[in-house]
């Protein structure tokens, strides 16, 4: 899987090996932009909720792909940042502070601070150890949240109302909230695209390809990895902010390790090292969950083998699979 991921990341990184489909992100975002209109026309209002859920997780998955696909850092603790962002909203709201102008920056800052403190330790490890230690820190926050008795402990905590924006309760409207989340995803995507192409991103991609070579030409590899980890953590906080507001509820389950695992599945399913794949992966995963769980309670029995097939036969995830199909048919 790793060599496959490396090859794909190299392609996504703009080498001649696998040219990126420039139209794909435009198509993805156009679909998201038109979704509420489609839902209204066909009177399927639940689609807006589903779309919001997809967008919320896509934000975290795109950030995770920045780490996995471009930095070679397989973080198994991305959900911790979702949880931290969500709890920032929940705790502030309980204290009577319900404005996004405060809670969004706080959610980002708390997540980044946690990423910085734990990242300093995590970045010193490699491979499986990195996976384990990010998992361990994630579980640490999870258990911390379950022990927060004043904020619901295991049961979580209900938020009275969605955040206002400078006192304006616009996010109460589900469609307005959808578009707010949409803008967050667009901003996340554009930010990560810019990062990847920048000087910083080029060094980060280089550390994934060959860390020894990067050190030999004078780069302090760990510094770049740590910064990437902190950025991805901050974006995870944004995802948590959105999740708490969309459900008006915060619970430790948001940051359970299974949640981190699901994010990794989303990234791999869509195609590692493409950013687009993280969005596609979140959509397919969550839609499959919704559809299959309507058929059977044990929907993962069906989804599991599907995922195995994707990993085995669709190298580069769904995006890589579609790109190869297109090549084959002219």
């Amino acid at each position: 899987m790793m060599t496959g991921a490396a090859a794909i990341a190299a392609g996504g990184a703009g080498s001649a090996r696998q040219p990126r489909n420039a139209a794909l992100p435009a198509v993805i975002f156009a679909i998201f932009a038109l979704m509420p209109a489609f839902a209204a026309l066909t009177a399927q209002h639940y689609l807006v909720d589903t779309g919001t859920r997809i967008i919320v997780y896509a934000v975290a998955a795109v950030a995770l792909d920045l780490l996995v696909g471009y930095g070679g850092l397989i973080s198994f603790g991305q959900a911790a940042f979702i949880g931290l962002g969500a709890y920032a909203v929940g705790i502030l709201s309980a204290a009577g502070i319900g404005d996004a102008l405060v809670s969004l920056p706080v959610a980002i800052a708390v997540s980044m601070a946690f990423a910085w403190i734990t990242g300093v330790v995590c970045i010193r490890t490699k491979g499986v150890y990195f996976i384990m230690i990010t998992l361990a820190f994630g579980q640490m926050v999870y258990f911390l949240a379950t022990s927060l008795a004043p904020y619901g402990g295991d049961n979580g905590l209900t938020i009275d109302a969605r955040n206002t924006i400078a006192g304006w309760p616009v996010l109460k409207n589900d469609t307005a909230f959808y578009y707010f989340a949409f803008l967050c995803l667009l901003a996340t995507y554009l930010l990560c695209r810019a990062l990847i192409a920048s000087r910083f991103g080029r060094v980060l991609r280089g550390t994934k390809e060959n860390a020894t070579r990067m050190a030999a030409i004078g780069f302090t590899v760990q510094r770049f990895q740590l910064i990437a980890y902190v950025i991805a953590g901050g974006i995870g906080g944004v995802s948590g902010f959105l999740l708490a507001n969309s459900t008006e509820f915060v619970a430790p389950a948001y940051m359970a390790w299974q949640q981190s695992g699901e994010l990794i599945v989303m990234v791999i399913l869509g195609g590692v090292g493409t950013l687009d794949g993280a969005i596609v992966g979140s959509a397919v995963y969550l839609l499959a969950e919704e559809w299959l769980s309507g058929l059977t309670e044990n929907w993962q029995v069906i989804f599991g083998p599907f995922l195995v097939l994707v990993v085995l036969f669709a190298r580069g995830g769904l995006i890589g699979f579609c790109a190869r199909l297109r090549l084959r048919h002219g």
Binding site: A10, A16, S198, R199, F200, A216, I217, G218, F219
Partner: protein
């Protein structure tokens, strides 16, 4: 000639009970090419790895450009002007040939903590990178993925990366290993052109290359420096011939 660029004193390194470098002392003068030769397992790569900072020595000091760098990590030595090639080619296979070199330029041209603006279009990075590729004779390959180069071209790319670092000292770990006769000739020619302009330490098994290039030769046998001297003297030394050159010259 002035002060030595590199001054190694009493360097020792063992792996477990195996003594790989035993009291190695060497000076490299500005502009010279010092070749380090010796049989397999003599500790040549271990020596290079300690000079470049990949391995910490057990004892001894490494002075580079007048400063003690014994405790510095590889990236800090690189920024002081110490460049190296690897025995097993070490490049970024998924990057274009040009980007491989442009990264080396980037490492010493302004901060890399810039998060916006496309690095691959920066005017101050690409021209110097291209110049280094021209020097190494692979400028026509600039836009290929580095992984698709032939083995000899990858060797040349490593050299271009090192040149782009504008090094005060260049460590070459078996630059002719595993490449064909014709490519070896080209590599020797290239290094001959660099001779005198750059200070270099060359580890190499190909004796025709060593005697064509080296100003001085150090012979390493079982981790110890058996002899350091001019090529002609080293070649004539009976001890060196018995220990190493005999089998090489047959």
């Amino acid at each position: 000639m002035g002060e030595p660029v590199l001054r190694i004193k009493g360097l020792c390194k063992s792996f477990g009970s195996l003594l790989v470098n035993d009291d190695v002392t060497l000076d490299v003068m500005p502009g010279e090419m010092l070749a380090v030769i010796g049989p397999n397992g003599a500790g040549k790569t271990t020596l290079i790895n300690q000079i470049s900072g990949l391995l910490p020595p057990d004892a001894g000091t490494i002075m580079f450009d007048g400063a003690d760098v014994t405790a510095l990590p590889p990236q800090a030595r690189a920024l002081r002007g110490l460049a190296r090639s690897f025995q097993i080619t070490s490049i970024l296979p998924g990057f274009s040939v040009l980007e491989n070199v442009a990264l080396a330029v980037q490492a010493r041209s302004g901060s890399s903590l810039r998060f916006f603006g496309r690095a691959d279009r920066e005017a101050r990075l690409n021209p110097p990178a291209l110049a280094a590729l021209e020097q190494a004779g692979i400028a026509d390959r600039a836009h290929l993925p580095a992984g698709e180069l032939s083995h000899g071209e990858k060797r040349a790319l490593e050299l271009a990366i090192a040149l782009a670092m504008q090094p005060a000292l260049l460590l070459l770990d078996e630059p002719m290993a595993g490449i064909g006769r014709e490519e070896t000739e080209r590599q020797i020619e290239l290094l001959l052109r660099l001779k005198g302009k750059l200070t270099m330490v060359l580890v190499e098994h190909d004796m025709s290359a060593v005697f064509a290039l080296a100003d001085r030769i150090s012979v390493l046998i079982r981790g110890r420096v058996l002899r350091t001297g001019l090529p002609a003297d080293v070649r004539a030394d009976p001890q060196v011939v018995t220990a190493y050159l005999g089998e090489q010259m047959e």
